[in-house]
């Protein structure tokens, strides 16, 4: 037996408030048709005042633990780039909210690739016998960092959380995480960024410009790099397992933009029906995106026990990463 991490629970939570394209069109210079054709998004969920990323993370985690039939894990990892506070990390508060005070807990910041990075970290902790189980949560409230006047980002992002439970097991089991690829390119730091509020701006001695606390993204440059790095990363994780794109039953990509997803599928030679998409209903939910898409794929019966499934993400940093797993049997997803 080769010790590895097995996917044993999956839960999600979306804040109840829904923002439709028509609602955005009433306050921004955009239309439902423009948003749908450029992004594939019809609606997104937005956190209400009084909520926080930790709140969303806790709700998703509670459901993932129930899905796994457990109330204990050895480590809690929250992937987020909108933490409850700049300091400390959000994960310890989430762990305590779950009744897991005393459990190792920390955040991983890799923006839209955060869930894949956190999953790889958790799988490594399990393989290295540091932990026998882990809770990996992707949660973000990007609505809190968007410029209310920026029609290009307001239409894309939504809030949400998704979580998985991993347990130690045999690499040959269904549900096993079989391989990872992680990458980064810091020369692209300005392409996806909140420029102000960090040590760089504080130590510069300059006052932050009003817009610096908002999220900025260079759409065209992000598009080409997302396609380039996600497709290369998928090929890399498959090569390591001696598999080809046609062997993949389902690709579950970060739901960045439907046009990016379609271009990735085309570049990989994957039929569109093998790419799991739920961006129409939730938008781009950053670190929550992949577990929310996994839940959508499981809910519609597409993901079947033993299927080779590849997760892939791309985000700020720049960062990218992929994970290969076999879909577990008997997994009951609990949605919020």
């Amino acid at each position: 037996m080769t010790r590895g991490a097995i996917l044993s629970g999956l839960g999600t939570w979306l804040p109840p408030q829904v923002v439709t394209n028509d609602m955005l069109s009433s306050e921004l210079d955009t239309t439902d048709e423009w948003i749908r054709t450029r992004t594939g998004i019809a609606r997104r969920h937005i956190a209400s005042p009084g909520m926080s990323t930790g709140h969303l993370a806790t709700e998703a985690a509670r459901r993932a633990l129930k899905s796994a039939g457990t109330d204990r894990v050895d480590v809690v990892i929250v992937a987020t780039s909108t933490p409850d506070r700049p300091c400390p990390a959000t994960a310890p508060v989430v762990a305590s909210s779950l009744g897991l005070t005393g459990t190792g807990a920390f955040d991983v910041a890799a923006v839209c690739t955060g869930f894949v990075y956190a999953l790889a970290t958790a799988a490594g902790l399990i393989a290295g016998q540091v932990a026998d189980s882990a809770l990996v949560i992707g949660a973000d409230t990007f609505s809190t960092i968007l410029d209310p006047r920026d029609r290009t980002t307001r239409v894309i992002f939504g809030d949400g959380a998704g979580a998985v439970v991993l347990r130690a097991g045999d690499q040959a089991e269904e549900g096993a995480l079989r391989g990872f690829d992680l990458g980064s390119d810091g020369t692209g730091v300005d392409l996806i960024t909140v420029p102000g509020g960090g040590s760089e701006q504080r130590l510069s001695g300059a006052e932050a410009a009003p817009g610096d606390r908002y999220f900025h993204m260079d759409g065209p440059q992000v598009f080409t790099r997302a396609v380039r790095y996600m497709t290369a990363s998928v090929r890399k994780v498959l090569d390591a397992a001696a598999l080809a794109p046609e062997d993949v039953a389902h690709l579950v990509p970060h739901q960045a933009n439907v046009r990016i997803l379609d271009t990735c599928a085309r570049e990989l030679g994957l039929p569109a029906e093998r790419v799991v998409k739920n961006i129409d209903l939730v938008g781009n939910t950053v670190a929550a995106s992949i577990p929310l898409a996994l839940a959508a794929g499981a809910a519609d019966g597409r993901l079947r026990a033993g299927d080779p499934v590849v997760l892939t993400g791309f985000g700020g940093g720049l960062t990218w990463g992929s994970a290969l797993l076999t879909w577990p049997g008997g997994l009951t997803v609990i949605d919020g």
Binding site: P220, Q221, T224, R228, N257, E267
Partner: protein, 79 residues
């Protein structure tokens, strides 16, 4: 038709067949029916067709023409 144009035609016929003729007549991407996202998709396709994996994605816009694409390819050493 030179090699660049042959490759451009092959690329457009495969990915944007409704725009090929208008673009070769000199129309802008927008006037040939492509939206701004379509122009970025075209740039991704250029990377694959011509093996130029270093394009940024913002070199062409909706108002650009096929001549701008030819100039871009020449500037990165194609042709």
């Amino acid at each position: 038709m030179n090699t660049i144009d042959q490759n451009l035609k092959a690329l457009l016929d495969e990915r944007f067949p409704q725009s090929t003729d208008r673009l070769f007549e000199g129309a802008s991407f927008k006037d040939a029916g492509m939206d701004s996202m379509g122009v970025v998709e075209f740039i991704v396709a250029l990377e694959r067709q011509f093996g130029t994996p270093t394009l940024n994605g913002n070199e062409l816009g909706a108002e650009s023409t096929l001549q701008d694409a030819r100039d871009l390819l020449t500037s990165v050493g194609v042709g």
